[in-house]
Structures are given as structure tokens and as C-alpha cells.
């Protein structure tokens, strides 16, 4: 899984910047998998919260696409925040690479959120068609 995260993030960041920073070794051994797992977990938790807490266990009426989009934005924001705070707490230096890592992780968090939404929405009581009907 570490290899997966490393290839995912290096490939995506290299779209913006092909040069690797001096502390790339740290990204490779620690940060990519740590941030990758955390982001995946946070996206999953938000999906579970949206579909099963607020739209199954509780009847909050927050089943609209707007609500879903706001939650997705929250996931994306948390992705940026996680990439920044976890990297810095592990000793990564402030660099343009870290900036692109934050941007990329924002997109990755949104993608995870979309993926889990599509996979899990059909078992939701009130939001099974949010943000769209199907495919299951």
C-alpha cells in the first residue's frame, strides 16, 4: 500500500513539479503512506457520517446535492490540512513540493469521497440518490 500511495502521489505531484525536494526520502518512507491513509480514512468517515448518521440514523433532511457538495468540500479541505500538518510535524521543510502535495491531496480526498459515496449511498435511508441516481 505504501508503494501505491508513493506512486499515486509522486505521479500526481510530478504533473506540477518534476524536481524532487531534498527531503523527498521522508515523503517516500513516511509521509505519502501516512497522509494517504489518513486522507482515505477521513473521506470514508465523512461519507459514513453523511449517508448513515445524518441521513439514516437521524432524519436531518440534509440529503440534497448542496449538502453533499459541502461535505465534499470539507473532505477536500481536510485533505489539504492533513497533508500540511502531518508533513510539517514529521519534519518536512516548507517547499513548493509541499505546496503541490497539499493541492494534490485536496483532489485525492475529494476523489476518495466521491468513490465512497458512489459505493455506499445505496444503503442510506434518505440520501440513496444523492448526489445522483445509480449506478447501483
Amino acid at each position: 500500500m505504501q508503494t501505491f500511495f508513493t506512486s499515486l502521489y509522486s505521479a500526481l505531484i510530478s504533473i506540477f513539479q518534476s524536481q524532487r525536494p531534498a527531503d523527498y526520502g521522508l515523503y517516500k518512507t513516511d509521509l505519502f503512506s501516512l497522509v494517504g491513509w489518513s486522507t482515505l480514512g477521513v473521506s470514508l468517515l465523512l461519507v459514513l457520517a453523511f449517508y448513515y448518521v445524518f441521513n439514516s440514523a437521524m432524519r436531518t433532511g440534509m440529503f440534497r446535492s448542496t449538502h453533499w457538495a459541502l461535505t465534499l468540500a470539507l473532505a477536500a479541505g481536510l485533505g489539504t490540512f492533513l497533508a500540511n500538518s502531518l508533513s510539517k510535524s514529521h519534519g518536512a521543510e516548507v517547499s513548493s513540493y509541499l505546496g503541490y502535495f497539499m493541492v494534490v491531496n485536496m483532489i485525492v480526498a475529494a476523489l476518495w469521497f466521491l468513490l465512497f459515496s458512489v459505493l455506499l449511498k445505496r444503503w442510506s435511508t434518505y440520501a440513496r440518490t444523492t448526489p445522483f441516481v445509480g449506478p447501483f
Partner: protein, 444 residues
């Protein structure tokens, strides 16, 4: 919370959105707490990536030196050590050698010190006080002296002479009694220091001129056998002979205040601490540029688009002071990268200041930094080497040599031939003073 399907009015919808945001803000704080927790637990374990790559083994403190000082005390040396007084300044010899024997006596780098006077073939052990008395001119008797090869042979024949540092102080005036010997000066010297050849000991030569008051015995005996000098300057030399790393240490740590004329033969140091410095640098000029990062005790770099430039640190405290000069290092250091192209950037070698070392802890183990550039890398892996090839006999040696020393001058008879004998004790290509290596991986 019974909420009907909202019909139309934007204001309640907006309000509900805020409520939604409020709900999520609550979960946000929970989630961030979860998110940062693993960060703290993993911070405890040693993170592989944060370690400086190729961290050189911590410089273990070298064993203290065993030093023997040999002072030739013949009639020809007496002029260097006049009995002074408040009105007569000490000679350069007295100042320099007085400081050298004192440093040897008190230095923590020296575990054991012995003093000898070379009056004839066998050196005579004396106490420190007696040696000091001789240097300050308190002893009036001087022996007839012995020829240079016999003296050197006698010194190196002492037990453990080849495992310790021998310091020979003499004028190194060699005028063989047998005229035929003049044709064989280099060979005679080389034979007399045979252990240097056999065990590849190092020889460091320091030269200085000093005022001279007394009888001067030239090597060339015509037209006069001896002259009485009254303050003319003539040279004397300090030779340091011993295992290469110990000679280097003696030169760097004990004979710190050495004269400017220096020549080193067969000098080698222990592999100095060496590492590329990539992270935790505050000085932007030291930071790497291009695509290079540390991994598995080496560097991984991609130089197909832009060359990689990075700073390396070296601990050169064991080199003689003259060799620690940036100009000398820039001229002599060699950077090699088989299957690639690497160079030392001009004007990039410099010593580190105390402020830099304390301000940026990654610099603390090193005395010098320099910047390397890798502009081509063809193989998947390569090894970059930085070495200091031993310099050849320096130019001052021929300037200080003469073929006729009957008229005193700051030159020594046949110094070039004597040192040629020393030089011939080593292979045609002198071994490197040190070599350090850095594994490099090509980042594809």
C-alpha cells in the same frame, strides 16, 4: 428534527446550510483529533527519511600519540641556541622549538613523550628539563656530532620507533666525510630511513631560518672549514616521522604553530567524516538545487533536465593547517564519478564558522563545506568519490637548496637531494591523503 422538504425560500435553506456546517464542524474537531494522533505516536519511532544520508561514523577519538623528540646537539647546532639574557632576543629556533617541546610536554593529544639528544650514533635519552636547558642555551658542552644518515638510522632503530612519532630537529647539513658519498646522497638518505620505505611511514618536513651565533660548519669544506657567524640566518628543519595518521595528527594538533615551509611525504589521514547536507539548513546558499534527495545512505538524483547541486560536509581537522586552507583544497581536491560527470564548484570550498556550526546543528560534525555538481549520470547506480591526492614535493625545497653552502645563506646543501631520497621511499604515484565515497542512484 422534523424538517419538511423545503419549498422555495432561500433564507431558511441558507440557515439550514449553516446548521449543517455547524454539525460538521463538530465532527471536524473529532476528526482532526484522530488525524493528529497517529502523527504523535509515529514521531517517537526513528523516522528513516529524516536521518541525514550517508551519515559518516562519528569520529572516534584517536588514541593519544607516543612522541619522541630528537634534538641533534653537535657543535654545528650550538649557534641556534645562544645563552640569551634580558638584552638578547631569543632566536627563531629557540622560540619555535621551545614552544614545540613545551606543547609536546603538556598536550593532551600526547600520551607519552620522550626526549633524546643526538650527539653521536645512539640517541641519549634525557629529561624534559635537560632538553629545555639545551634549547635555551644553558648547556655549554656540545658533542662532535654524527653524519645525517647515521643519525636517522640510529633514531629509527630504536624499539617502537616505527609505531610512534619521531621528531628530529637538526640543521640537516650533510657533508659526508668520504668524498665518494656525495654522488649517492638520495640513496644514502633513503637507505638510512629504510623503515619509511618498508612500512610506508610518513615524513613531514618543516623548515625555518633562524639567527645563528657561533661556529657554522658547512657541508662544502672549501675554502673554509668553519665560520663564526654573528646573527646571520641559516635554516634548520623539523622532521616528523611515523605512521601516516599519527604524523598528520601531530602536525595538526601538537605542532600547530609550525613554520610556513612544509613538505609532506606519504601522509594519510583516517577517512574523515563526510556527508551530503540536504535538509535542516537555514542558509539558502547551502541548500541543494535540482532534483536530489537522500535515501539509503546515499543520494538519489535526476539530472536529465537540470544538474543537481548540493553541499557536502567534511571534517578535515586532521590535515596539516596549510592543507586546510580553502585555496589549497580547491586546487587539489578531486571529484570523480564514473559513468557520470561531477565537479567541485569553483570557490565553494570554505571552512565553517563557529556561528554556522552552532546555528545549524547538521553542520556541527564538519569543519569544511563544499558544493558539488552532478551534471550527467548514465548508470542506474554510481559511486562519487572525493579524494585529496598527495601533493608532490613543494617548490620551496628547490629554492632552499644549494650546491655550495660554504658562504652561509638561508639555503641548505643538497636539500633537494636529501628530500629526493625521502620521496623515493614512496611509489611513483603517491597514495591519496584521503578518499571518501558517496553512493548515487539514478532517479528515473
Amino acid at each position: 428534527m422534523p424538517i419538511s422538504v423545503s419549498v422555495g425560500l432561500p433564507a431558511p435553506r441558507l440557515f439550514r446550510c449553516f446548521r449543517l456546517a455547524g454539525l460538521f464542524l463538530g465532527t471536524l474537531s473529532l476528526l482532526t483529533a484522530c488525524g493528529t494522533e497517529p502523527a504523535e505516536t509515529t514521531a517517537g519511532k526513528p523516522a528513516k527519511g529524516t536521518k541525514a544520508p550517508a551519515a559518516a561514523p562519528a569520529a572516534t577519538e584517536a588514541a593519544p600519540l607516543h612522541v619522541s623528540i630528537f634534538l641533534e646537539y653537535s657543535g654545528g647546532m650550538k649557534g641556534f641556541v645562544p645563552r640569551g639574557g634580558a638584552d638578547k632576543p631569543a632566536t627563531e629556533f629557540q622560540k619555535r622549538i621551545g614552544a614545540l617541546i613545551t606543547e609536546t610536554q603538556v598536550s593532551g593529544a600526547v600520551a607519552e613523550r620522550k626526549y633524546y639528544l643526538c650527539e653521536n650514533t645512539a640517541p641519549r635519552p634525557v629529561k624534559f628539563q635537560e632538553m629545555r636547558d639545551v634549547v635555551q642555551g644553558e648547556v655549554s658542552q656540545a658533542a662532535l656530532g654524527t653524519e645525517l644518515p647515521q643519525m636517522l638510522e640510529g633514531i629509527l632503530a630504536l624499539p617502537q620507533a616505527t609505531e610512534q612519532v619521531s621528531v628530529v630537529i637538526s640543521d640537516f647539513i650533510y657533508g659526508p666525510a668520504r668524498k665518494s658519498d656525495f654522488s649517492q646522497l638520495p640513496n644514502l638518505i633513503r637507505t638510512s630511513i629504510a623503515p619509511v620505505s618498508r612500512q610506508q611511514l610518513a615524513v613531514a618536513v618543516f623548515g625555518e631560518t633562524s639567527h645563528f651565533y657561533g661556529s657554522y660548519f658547512p657541508a662544502v669544506k672549501t675554502p673554509v672549514q668553519k665560520r663564526t657567524l654573528n646573527g646571520e640566518k641559516v635554516p634548520y628543519y623539523v622532521w616528523v616521522i611515523g605512521p601516516p595518521a599519527q604524523v598528520a595528527r601531530f602536525a595538526a594538533e601538537v605542532f600547530k604553530n609550525a613554520p610556513a615551509q612544509q613538505a609532506f611525504f606519504g601522509l594519510k589521514t583516517k577517512t574523515p567524516a563526510f556527508a551530503p547536507l540536504l535538509v535542516k539548513l537555514t542558509d539558502p546558499k547551502l541548500k541543494p538545487s535540482g532534483s536530489v534527495y537522500g535515501e539509503d545512505n546515499g543520494l538519489t538524483m535526476k539530472v536529465s533536465d537540470d544538474p543537481a547541486e548540493f553541499t557536502v560536509g567534511l571534517n578535515l581537522k586532521e590535515l596539516p593547517a596549510a592543507w586546510q586552507q580553502p585555496a589549497f583544497l580547491a586546487q587539489h581536491l578531486q571529484v570523480r564519478l564514473p559513468n557520470g560527470q561531477a565537479s567541485l564548484l569553483p570557490n565553494s570550498v570554505r571552512p565553517l564558522t563557529d556561528t554556522e556550526q552552532s546555528g545549524q546543528p547538521v553542520l556541527a560534525p564538519y569543519t569544511h563545506v563544499m558544493r558539488l555538481r552532478v551534471s550527467k549520470l548514465l548508470a542506474p547506480t554510481a559511486t562519487l568519490t572525493v579524494s585529496l591526492p598527495a601533493p608532490e614535493t613543494p617548490d620551496w625545497v628547490s629554492a632552499w637548496s644549494t650546491t655550495n653552502d660554504n658562504t652561509p645563506a638561508p639555503r641548505t646543501f643538497g636539500l633537494d637531494q636529501i628530500l629526493a631520497g625521502v620521496r623515493q621511499s614512496y611509489p611513483t604515484t603517491l597514495p591519496s591523503v584521503f578518499t571518501v565515497q558517496l553512493p548515487i542512484k539514478n532517479d528515473k
